[in-house]
Amino acid sequence: MEFKEYYKTLGVEPTASADDIKKAYRKLARKYHPDVSKEADASSRMAEVNEAYAVLSDPEKRAAFDKLAQRRSSGEDFAPPPGWDAGFGFGDAGSPVGDDGDYSDFFNTLFGRAARARQSGGARAQMRGTDQHAKISINLADAYHGATRSLALRETRLDESSNVVNAERVLEVRIPRGVKAGQSIRLRGQGSPGFNGGTAGDLYMEVEFEPDARYRVEGRDVTQSVPVAPWEAALGATIEVPTPAGRVEVKVPDGSNNGRKLRLKGRGIPGEPPGDLYLELELATPPAKDDKAREVYQTMAREFSSFNPREPMGAQP
């Protein structure tokens, strides 16, 4: 188990006052705020900062941590010595940073709920496990058809001898069709385990879509660009388009221009009601890469000599 250098995480000296620790924490909490930070690893850094502050802002935990840090030989794998927490009482007041507790094995072994239950001699009272939160990324096709995702979770619990053990479990999560970005899904009983017969907490996952330049999604409505040839737009055509809802045949009205949107009602993300799918026409011109192609364009230039696409901008014919 890796020893966590909590003072370094917050960028303070071990002699820092409680006020300095709070100031350092708030500065970093702004810097790594997951909703606004531009840092690539903002979420994981925020979790580290939260964990460090959860220990260093609590006088009992900080004192116990300081004692451990003094006894530790640097560079070696860490395991807490027996009785390391004798004389300290961490209580069960919860974390000052709330439920963001994506904490390390180091924290959970020393200060987590299992550790507190062990410290109190295997507390008699039933404790429900805490709810946990995570984000899960899916693609648009998953939202249309549903999907299964694997999710590895760490958990800390007491074994039969009241030792704190860290384990990993993998959930095969079946995500229902019709989920929208920003929605939360709930997995009952998949949060932190309870103690003394208490029920496990729940796991909540906020859904986000993987970026896909082909689609723009607003609620359940989906917009997709569709390239069309100039003659298809000008003369009208029936074209086949691969969409997240499957291949569809679409009639392009004659006289269509670049950017025209065709609405396919109910072909957006499924739901009650389902969203709509918008196909945005994008004119694609064949390359003039040989004499024959160039001749066709030259013929068009002659035949459409009065056509000036910049006329709406005020250009002279």
């Binding site: 606004v36 709810d131 959930l171 095969e172 079946r174 229902p176 920003g182 723009r216």
Partner: protein, 102 residues
């Protein structure tokens, strides 16, 4: 390593009650009620009891986190949540307005 198969439930199809939301946000249920009564947090009370959907859960967690991290009062935390929601909306609009190019 143990593997489990589980079915996820969309919260908007099976909304949360007051106690469930409080537990998910690691706050007392009175914390939720105070903010609903102050108009800082919405809920669906059409069935006679407070029910909360995905958007309410996300907002309540943001407000609780801001209050804890920065010792912010509830109005400031709600203002921060308003601004983050606005930023998210604007980001979506920008993304929708920018047509993808090869």
């Amino acid at each position: 390593m143990t593997r489990y198969k589980v079915d996820a439930v969309l919260i908007d199809e099976e909304t949360l009650d007051l106690q469930e939301l409080a537990s998910a946000c690691a706050v007392p249920s009175t914390w939720i009620v105070e903010r609903v009564e102050a108009g800082l947090l919405a809920c669906d009370s059409s069935g006679g009891e407070m029910r909360f959907a995905s958007a309410h859960l996300v907002r309540a967690r943001r407000m609780a986190t801001t209050e804890r991290r920065f010792d912010a009062n509830q109005e400031i935390a709600a203002l921060v949540a308003d601004l983050i929601e606005e930023v998210e909306q604007l980001r979506r609009q920008v993304h929708a307005a920018v047509r993808p190019r090869d």
